[in-house]
């Protein structure tokens, strides 16, 4: 299931479409001016958990590229790359979780959330500011504070939205060994 099949190709496409629509048109005010909650990362984490790291990576890169593309404010490569790295790490960290067979209990919820926190920190406090400094030579403290803010918001959104999605999806899937052969 988690290898690169036709299903993965379609999942990347539709995952990127979901990422795009949620990032582009859905804005939930966070209380801080001009900062919206990016619920699309919850969805990206879910796609990565179900379809694996390649799907997470590509859905992140395509979805984010099209968001920047359609806003027309210039493609922000450093942040596009950070999004895709988040998807990739989430896919790798959740390789062992078998959501497709309805497996998502407390243990998996903890694995999922610990890895999403780590992945967000790597992407927004590590990768994005480093690339901003490399590409644009922006002052370090500015990009790190921006990174920390978005990491915080994204972690919160992924914790709620991502976890709920995984739980709901797992509940909708038939359990492994739920059917028994009659004697």
């Amino acid at each position: 299931m988690k290898r690169f099949s036709v299903k993965t190709v379609v999942a990347i496409g539709i995952g990127a479409a979901l990422f795009f629509v949620l990032g582009r048109f859905v804005s939930i005010p966070s209380g801080i001016p001009d900062t919206n909650i990016s619920i699309q990362y919850g969805v990206l984490a879910f796609i990565a958990a179900v379809f694996g790291p390649i799907a997470g990576f590509l859905a992140g890169i395509i979805g984010h590229f099209f968001i920047d593309f359609s806003f027309g404010w210039g493609v922000w490569w450093s942040w596009v790359i950070a999004s895709s790295i988040f998807g990739c790490i989430m896919g790798l960290a959740t390789m062992k979780i078998d959501i497709d067979n309805g497996e998502f209990a407390l243990k998996e919820i903890i694995i999922f959330n610990v890895s999403q926190i780590v992945a967000h920190l790597i992407s927004w406090v590590g990768v994005a500011p480093a690339l901003d400094i490399l590409f644009y030579k922006e002052p370090a403290n500015k990009v790190f504070i921006q990174g920390l803010t978005s990491a915080g918001i994204n972690i919160l959104a992924t914790a709620v939205v991502g976890t709920l999605l995984c739980v709901a999806y797992a509940a909708a899937r038939p359990k492994k060994d739920s059917l028994k052969e009659e004697q």
Binding site: V10, F20, V21, P29, K142
Partner: protein, 275 residues
Amino acid sequence: MNNLFNYIDKESPVHRLTGATKFVCLLLWNFAAMYTYDTRYLCVMAVLSFVLFAVSKIKLKEVSFMLGFTAVFVLINNVLVYVFSPQHGTEIYGTCTYLFGLSGKYAPTAEQLFYHLNYFLKYLASIPSVILFVSTTNPSEFAASLNKLGVKYTVAYSVALALRYIPDVQKEYDEISKAQQARGIEMSKKAPLMKRIKSAASILIPLILSSMDRVEIVSNAMELRSFGKNKKRTWYMGRPFKWTDIAAMIFCAFLVIVAVFLNFKNNGRFFNPFI
């Protein structure tokens, strides 16, 4: 859908280039503009991009809202840089020239203002090229042309699928969101933060579950048609390269070479008039 991506259909030399060419040129152009901080070169690139606008027959009026977006964005970024690091220019250029007889942490220095000028020019050199790319590239043709650049066609097809399903997903989101709002779900500022995120999830769960069904249906349909069986495929929107495509790519590669050359000549990425 073309509306969503601000594609403006016209007949011009820039429109006639293939999507692949324009994408490569965009990457090279942005790389050159990101790489160098040489003020003179950034000016040249900024002027060049406006020349390209004239060639492409895209009027500035047609993309004014995008330019407006960008202007606000650039302004916010400039203010943030100044607030967080008012001495950034001094760190880069190594000298410190106070202006207007003021001194102190937030006093304007010539170096800081020069840095901001460069920062602004950098956007002026790179953003118009992106806007030009967005408004002259047909999204479907773009997906088709990715394959030509050596991206695996399965991946290029994912891009095409994303473009195909964005309007569907958008419509579905709208429907579910209205239905849930009718049942009393609140996502605006009136509700507390956690409640807002939870209400978002109650829209997302039906959306995701139906999207997963869609993945199943589409991938079954594709598998039935033996998608992925052969090493190559053809594209309805694909176009062959012409000499203009090659020329455009060589020109953009040349821009990068100049940027790298200037890097050596200036001993670093900054052009420093203060020494």
